[in-house]
């Protein structure tokens, strides 16, 4: 995602007819609430007299490792002794806003490291300078004669040394903080922590069950809540019979909400039993009533291929029409992909305690958007965001689901109605049926090759609903409809002078949202499958073809070459074949998949994946590898089996028996090569996903000749392609 949000155009859209609009004053910078006796040169760092150093994580932790990686960056420039660093999660506060989201406090879109790397280095360097200045004044020596070792300031000439903690005992934060510039920062060769694969800070608590996820939050007098939503989103309540629900032991009350019916009670099981006992007749006529995914796939594909229907221009370069008309050889193909569900292992949940007068609220939630939570909660309580305290808990997976506000507002409204702290935990069934799915999408691709075998014409038309129009309507409008969530990854690194990229928005009444790698998941599937189809038609090796089209881009070429080398690309394997795909979404990644296919059942087996990634400067090589491993498994899972179907407006899946995510027995072995380069760091939480599906599709085609142009590549779709 590359959303720019200016400071006064925040609107948080909710589905059930509610929209909350606010002005977000990002100019107001508050000091970190959690700071205590120590010295706090800025909002990120507190140096305590006992020599410990508290660093606020710039991002929430959902498994991506940022709660270690971001403090490492601060500690590096502060020259802190890492063993003395304590990390705390970010409180909901505009001071911790993400520059990559215009200052909004959101952890998403793989833009934590990219956006915070330099600001956090400057903050660490600034804190170090405050310490140095204080010691220079105290010892009456020029600051230039002082240097630092981990958490110690040294005056070489006199041999004097003082620990950071001892400095904190006398030092004051100056009225005017020293201004730091990139010239004040370390050279990569001087890094002590960056590049070292330090163990993740919160894992020791996680292996003993002590770590607190959102679902583990608890306060005195807390009760539990569950919310029944209509099977067809947007349907109002026609009639409600709650007598059976109220008779369930442990149920305390039944409360109508703008978007459904809430049940509160003494425990998870009681409130979910109560919810199941509600008898609701829902009003007819919701927009989503006719939503049918089987039909939509065909419709979207037809729209994509109907060239007389103009799309919104996303990118134009040269003259596509001319190049297409004069190409020596032309290609066209349609690719489609179904809706997918997030399936965070921790279902969404939140605990809210609304004050007796209803004007303030404390929230505990596994949230990717503490800043937006403040705005949304302030909106429903008709108060101001500073009256909303957000305690960010660990997230049991996020993947874009936990940027939403629906689960948070459930807890807030039930707490307000009952005057008690209420913890709402969605059942897995609630979570599946009320997801903000990855968009269902269709792509039409056209390409021309000139007489010399160069790519001379490229056209990409994307059809799908808009996530951005729902989440941030003013941003959507300012971008003039370029939904950067949906179109993500449409750009190509391949050299081509004549390009036309278009987006055709279809809104059929069902919410879609960001997902791991969102648009890049299906866009790179289409692009990379298509590139392979072109290579095959010309009888050119797919690796060689890509290298040729990437002649101008050494970093991209390097990952392609490396992945091919790791996989031993040229080696034949009986009954199996390799496929490659490349993605420049977030970071340059190339993946090679080794597959076999059961031609009777149509089932694909993915045995191995080799991936090479160049994320620029690497904070933790092991964490980058872990993220690419995980995103590859995620990518293979959605490539093979993940699909939400909706029939007459109703989601057909409900739990892990009918929405199957990849299990160990079906998971490939994934080997990752992390190529560290002296470039600005780029995102790695999502980058491994986009090449996974097309690498599998390309391997299947190489093995069988069958080209599957639809995600997921279900056995029946493979069989159909084998027969084609």
């Amino acid at each position: 995602m590359a959303i720019e949000i200016s400071r006064r155009e925040f609107v948080v859209g909710a589905t059930a007819g509610l929209t909350f609009a606010f002005a977000l004053d990002l100019g107001r910078v508050a000091r970190a609430a959690a700071q205590s006796a120590g010295l706090s040169p800025n909002v990120w760092v507190t140096i305590n007299p006992d020599d410990t150093i508290t660093i606020v994580s710039a991002a929430v932790e959902m498994g991506q490792g940022s709660m270690t990686g971001m403090p490492v960056v601060v500690a590096e420039e502060l020259d802190a002794d890492w063993s003395k660093v304590k990390v705390i999660p970010p409180p909901g506060n505009p001071a911790y806003g993400n520059p990559g989201f215009g200052g909004a406090q959101i952890t998403a879109g793989s833009r934590t490291t990219r956006s915070f790397f330099t600001p956090l280095r400057l903050a660490g360097a600034q804190a170090r300078r405050v310490l140095l200045d204080a010691v220079a004044a105290e010892w009456n020596v020029p600051v230039s004669e002082l240097s630092t070792e981990p958490s110690v300031i040294v005056h070489q000439r006199s041999g004097r040394r003082i620990s950071y903690g001892d400095v904190a005992k006398f030092a004051k934060v100056p009225a005017e903080l020293p201004k730091m510039t990139p010239a004040d920062l370390k050279k990569p060769a001087q890094f002590r922590l960056i590049g070292k694969s330090l163990p993740r800070v919160e894992l020791p608590d996680k292996v003993v069950g002590r770590a607190k996820f959102g679902i583990d939050a608890e306060v005195p007098d807390m009760i539990y809540g569950a919310v029944l939503r209509p099977p067809i989103p947007g349907s109002g309540i026609d009639a409600l019979d709650d007598s059976a629900a109220r008779a369930v032991p442990g149920v305390i009350d039944v409360i109508r909400l703008p978007w459904g019916v809430g049940v509160v009670g003494t425990g998870f099981e009681a409130v979910h039993k109560g919810k199941a006992a509600l008898k609701v007749t829902w009003k007819k006529g919701a927009r989503a009533e006719g939503y049918d995914t089987d039909q939509l796939i065909g419709e979207y594909a037809a729209i994509a291929a109907t060239l007389s229907k103009p799309g919104l221009e996303l990118h134009k370069e040269g003259d596509f029409a001319q190049a297409w008309a004069t190409a020596a050889r032309t290609f066209s193909a349609v690719y489609v992909s179904d809706h997918c569900y997030h399936a965070t292992m921790e279902p969404v949940n939140a605990l809210a305690r609304v004050s007796a007068d209803g004007t303030s609220c404390e929230l505990w939630a596994p949230t990717q958007s503490p800043g937006i939570n403040q705005l949304a909660v302030a909106g429903v309580l008709k108060t101001t965001p500073d009256k909303v305290t957000v305690n960010v808990m660990l997230l049991g997976g996020g993947f874009g689901r936990k940027v939403e506000q629906d689960f948070v507002l459930d807890a807030v409204l039930l707490s307000k109605a009952t005057s008690k702290p209420v913890k709402v935990v969605w059942s897995r069934e609630d979570d599946v049926r009320n997801d903000k799915m990855r968009p269902l999408a269709a792509q039409f691709l056209q390409a021309g090759i000139d007489a010399d075998g160069n790519l001379s014409a490229w056209r990409h038309r994307i059809v799908g609903a808009s996530a951005l129009a729902r989440l941030l309507p003013p941003v959507y409008e300012r971008l003039k409809g370029k939904d950067e969530i949906l179109i993500e990854g449409h750009e190509i690194a391949y050299s081509c002078r004549n390009q036309l990229h278009e987006y055709l928005r279809e809104d059929r009444g069902y919410d879609v949202g960001p997902w791991r790698a969102v648009g890049a998941g299906y866009n790179k599937f289409a692009i990379e499958s298509f590139i392979d189809e072109m290579a095959a038609a010309q009888r050119v090796d797919p690796v060689a073809f890509r290298l040729r089209l990437l002649a101008h881009d050494a970093r991209a070429r390097r990952v392609v070459e490396e992945a091919a080398r790791m996989a031993d690309w040229g080696r034949k394997r009986p009954g199996r074949a390799l496929g490659i795909a490349f993605s420049d979404a977030w970071s340059n990644v190339a993946s090679v998949a080794e597959v076999s296919v059961d031609r009777k059942s149509g089932r694909i087996y993915v045995h191995n994946v080799w991936a090479a990634v160049d994320p620029g400067i690497v904070i933790s090589p092991d964490n980058v590898a872990a993220q690419i491993e995980g995103a590859t498994i995620f990518g293979v899972s959605h490539a093979l089996q993940e699909r939400i179907t909706i029939s007459q407006g109703v989601v057909q899946q409900s739990n892990f028996h009918d929405y199957q995510i990849l299990r160990l027995a079906d998971a490939p072995d994934v080997r990752v090569k992390v190529i560290s380069t002296d470039n600005d760091p780029t995102g790695i939480g999502e980058a491994g996903l986009p090449p996974a599906a097309p690498a599998v599709a390309n391997a299947v085609a190489a093995l069988t000749g069958a080209r599957v142009r639809q995600l997921p590549m279900l056995p029946e779709r493979v069989l159909a392609a084998l027969r084609a």
């Binding site: 069950g209 996820f213 993220q627 995103a631």
Partner: protein, 150 residues
């Protein structure tokens, strides 16, 4: 209802048809055991019942009475069970939500089969979902624990 929890006798007031998972989490405040699906499809809620790995989300309290229950909090006194150590050495965990269940499942496997083959590992662990995709490291960590290199 009386049973042994992490080595200590417990007396908890619970209905026979309540599930062990929610009794642990809400009544006994041991939140290390996680809810993922409530239908024995994901393994997040795995605990040991008389030494066997079971899904606490479908284990009714009537079947717990008088038995020994071990949760992630009680697997070792100080987090030094070989599986826990191997998990840290391999930096297996990402979000970590599935991992209490993975660790309990792996510990039960190694208790019964100290030197499992790869196929035995896959078979034993296949019921435990991990959305973050840590499967490769899970296998490596179990192999490490089995080799005693922790």
């Amino acid at each position: 209802m009386v049973f042994i929890l992490n080595g200590r006798q417990m007396d908890v007031s619970a209905q026979p048809d309540e599930t062990l998972l929610w009794v642990l989490r809400e009544k006994l405040r041991l939140t290390g055991t996680k809810y993922g699906c409530g239908m024995a499809m994901c393994g997040s809620c795995t605990v040991h019942l008389d030494g066997q790995a079971v899904r606490s989300c479908v284990t009714r309290m009537q079947h717990v009475e008088g038995k020994r229950v071990t949760t992630i909090e009680g697997l070792s006194p100080d987090g030094t069970h070989p599986v826990q150590k191997a998990w840290l050495t391999e930096q297996v965990l990402q979000c970590g939500y599935c991992q209490s269940g993975q660790i309990m499942q792996a510990a039960a496997l190694l208790a019964k089969t100290p030197k499992p083959t790869r196929a035995q590992i896959v078979q034993a662990m296949n019921g435990n979902l991990c959305r973050c995709g840590t499967y490769g490291r899970i296998v490596r960590a179990i192999e490490r624990a089995a080799r005693g290199e922790v």
